[in-house]
């Protein structure tokens, strides 16, 4: 009997010693919060935070929960959101006065509580882990992610600028070629005049002067040109193939909406001429609130009852929808494209 008691006592001491050497804080409590076993570490951390050790684990948990700062609450939300499933752990994060960060976890265990008889009882396990280093890494990672997002944004802007610069560079190169040509022509003309050979290649020289003057006029006009109007060119090509394009209503003044409208007109024009032998395309534009409502009609054959969206119409739909616009096809008295294009 004595030996059995001694053995039990020794086992309990070993358990106590083992749990005290556990590097993190740990506490087991019954469902009503009565501590069954708690190590020195968890008591020390709780004492540092609340000013007392654990007398009731549930009360301590609630106290820790209420004490959370905004910074820790933010982390708590993030961590909690990651935990799902049946064995969900509740977590709280706290910063001690020495700057170290501690993560408290509460987990329910199914175990046999000797005090509650032989049936299974709910044992609560509380853990306190020093996550100072992890927290530092996490903070650094968040900083780096923020910096990386900033750099990424800068890279996108830079790319846009480079594309524009490239276009400017191309125009500049063309102007430099004209300048070189102009210099060469001046020398040729001077030579012709001073050497009295003006009569020999006059026609060539005049033709070259004519070309260079035209180039210089174009270069000068290029400087004053804004975004090109898509209407003029479309009218020209439509006229070339014998199709008349008529507009009713005001065209969008927003560039993005205008380009979407013209992409649709081109597709409608191609299909109307190719499949319906149309010679007139009518575009009716109405402006409503923040949208343009557009109907594109043609005077071609009217026997079509349905339209299969192939590559052209399919690509147009993709493009329109990616820009927030919508497209519908109506097959009554010919094929009509119905568009809704947002202003912005």
């Amino acid at each position: 009997m004595f030996q059995k008691l001694r053995r039990n006592y020794r086992t309990a001491r070993w358990i106590r010693a083992a749990i005290d050497t556990y590097p993190d804080g740990i506490c087991f409590a019954s469902s009503d919060g009565r501590p069954i076993l708690a190590n020195q570490k968890i008591n020390a951390v709780c004492h540092a935070l609340t000013g007392h050790t654990i007398t009731n684990a549930n009360a301590m948990w609630n106290e820790l929960k209420q004490m959370q700062t905004e910074e820790c609450l933010l982390d708590f939300d993030i961590v909690s959101a990651e935990m799902t499933g049946q064995n969900r752990k509740e977590q709280i994060i706290h910063r001690l006065s020495d700057g170290s960060m501690w993560q408290f976890q509460k987990q329910s265990l199914a175990a046999t509580d000797p005090a509650a008889g032989n049936g299974p009882a709910k044992i609560l396990q509380y853990e306190a882990a020093d996550i100072t280093q992890l927290y530092q890494y996490r903070s650094r990672l968040l900083d780096n992610n923020l910096r990386s997002a900033g750099l990424h944004e800068r890279q996108r802007e830079l790319l846009q600028n480079i594309v524009q610069n490239n276009l400017d560079k191309e125009i500049l190169n063309a102007k430099m070629r004209i300048h070189d040509e102009f210099g060469r022509l001046l020398i040729m003309t001077r030579n012709a005049l001073t050497e009295g050979e003006i009569g020999k290649d006059t026609s060539d020289l005049f033709a070259t002067w004519k070309n260079i003057i035209a180039d210089m006029e174009n270069a000068a006009m290029n400087d004053h040109e804004g975004d090109p109007s898509p209407e003029k060119e479309l009218m020209e090509v439509a006229d070339m193939i014998g199709c008349c394009v008529k507009f009713h209503g005001k065209q969008p003044c927003e560039r993005k909406a205008l380009l979407l409208l013209y992409a649709a007109i081109r597709e409608a024009l191609t299909n109307a001429v190719r499949h319906a032998s149309a010679d007139t395309l009518t575009i009716v534009i109405a402006e409503q609130n923040q949208e343009y409502h557009v109907e594109i009609l043609n005077n071609g054959r009217t026997s079509v009852t349905s339209v299969k969206e192939g590559g052209g119409l399919g690509n147009l739909r993709k493009r329109l929808e990616s820009e927030g616009a919508a497209m519908d096809i109506r097959c009554e008295n010919g094929v009509a494209l119905i568009l809704t294009i947002p202003k912005e």
Partner: protein, 207 residues
């Protein structure tokens, strides 16, 4: 008489091409436009025999896409792709579109009328490779095909995770390629790399 359609967004170049072709009695410039998206419409009703197609045209419309559409519906129309960009993928894309010839505008090894004449005689004139440009310490032809794919994806503003997904490789492989590219070029960051490849027009992400 050969009816020609010129598609070129720069007015200066467009009119210079018009003058060059009109100086020859064999060519008639039927239209000269700046937006490649209008080229297919212009080719309807069989009035065009030859299209001189720039790649980067007005409103960011690609001449290569327009050329593919024209060749699909009007295969008899001859198309010469012309560009001043050393973008490495243009040659391949032009071949896939079924174009007849390819002309680097600023190389000067063949004149515009000469390439038009030979193309209309049935020849297919293609440069062996895109012009070589220096990207930092590396020549553009030193990059592997996969490295160029990664550079293109970077230039499109993608993150490593997005690149890995689109190129069917792991993020570590993307990082490995980026490390190799930076080593070859001597650059310290991908921003520097992207700025250089776009500035030198080795990669034009929109086309």
């Amino acid at each position: 008489m050969i009816n020609v359609l010129i598609v070129e967004d720069s007015k200066i170049s467009r009119e210079a091409f018009e003058r060059q072709l009109e100086s020859s009695p064999d060519y008639f410039v039927i239209a000269s436009i700046e937006n490649a998206a209008n080229a297919e419409i212009a080719c309807m009703r069989n009035k065009i025999d030859l299209v001189l197609m720039d790649v980067c045209t007005a409103d960011n419309e690609s001449g290569l896409i327009a050329a593919a559409k024209i060749k699909k519906h009007y295969p008899r129309v001859r198309i010469i792709i012309m560009t001043s960009m050393p973008e490495y993928s243009f040659l391949q894309k032009a071949k896939e579109s079924g174009c007849d010839s390819f002309w680097y505008k600023e190389q000067g090894d063949i004149s515009l009328t000469a390439i038009c004449d030979r193309t209309m005689r049935g020849e297919f004139l293609w440069p062996d490779k895109a012009p070589v440009v220096m990207i930092g310490l590396a020549r553009s032809d030193e990059f592997t095909e996969r490295e160029l794919d990664v550079i293109r994806a970077l230039a499109q503003g993608n993150r490593y995770e997005e690149i890995a997904e689109s190129l069917f490789m792991s993020v570590n492989t993307v990082k490995y390629h980026v490390k190799n590219i930076l080593q070859k070029t001597g650059f310290h960051s991908t921003i520097q790399l992207v700025a250089e490849v776009v500035e030198k027009r080795l990669i034009l992400p929109k086309y």
